[in-house]
Amino acid sequence: MFAEWLFYVFSVLSVLGAVGLVLFRHPMSGAMSLIVTMISLAGLYALLSAKLIFVLQLIVYAGAIMSLILFIIMFLNIQTSDLPEEKGKLYFLAGGVVLLLPIASFLIKVVKSLPGSEATIVGKGFGGVKEVGLVLFQDWLLPFEIVSILLLVSLIGAVVLAGKRRVGK
């Protein structure tokens, strides 16, 4: 019961954060509201007994990635005048909603047809570091390694892109 209550709180918060992201004009406000969503999602992960992911969501997403974004936003020192004028935003929003409604309703229909199940918290033996780690390093070893290469490539890529260019080229 308490878990259910928590679920509604987190979901409302996350939706509000997402709506904020879409609506706020300044990216700084958007980022702040996205952090709300992220943290709420972390809560939801916890409700789903995914302990490791709950931690990682907080550390990696809400912590690392979002602070990187915030850092860049502040680094660029974005003024309101730098922001693009978004005149047709409302039309796009309204149109987007109209277009997304059928998709969402279809997906929801699909979800509804799935077998229902209670989401009670599972204790030991599920979602911990050990369980995830076992699966990750046994069944998912190759994707894991590929992702590590991807990270390396993006690291180098970011350095090359953002680094100083020699003049004249």
């Binding site: 974004i69 660029l76 997906l107 979602g127 998912w140």
Partner: protein, 98 residues
């Protein structure tokens, strides 16, 4: 109950799409994509709980790694964009125009 998680995931995903197609601010677009990734992660984890299998969580983990890589690259691009064009409008990128 578990279906509500999935519905929430759908809603968040749609909001992410909405952000991508309606906003011209690079940061917002970028963050909307992050939102969509998160929505997907939520679905993964919900299914992982539903089937009591770790695979979904592993996938979510990988998605996070990819998101981090993406963030690094995307932000580098944003910096470049700002350097060259002086603003943050996605409409500046119109090289795909036929």
């Amino acid at each position: 109950m578990i279906q509500h998680y999935l519905i929430l995931s759908i809603i968040l995903f749609c909001l992410g799409i909405l952000g991508v197609i309606s906003r011209r601010n690079v940061f917002t677009v970028f963050m909307s994509i992050e939102l969509m990734l998160n929505a997907a992660n939520l679905a993964f984890i919900t299914f992982s709980r539903l089937h009591l299998s770790m695979d979904g969580q592993v996938l979510a983990l990988l998605v996070m790694a990819v998101a981090a890589a993406e963030a690094a690259l995307a932000l580098a691009v944003v910096i470049l964009l700002h350097k060259h064009k002086g603003n943050l409008d996605t409409n500046v990128f119109s090289l795909l125009k036929g």
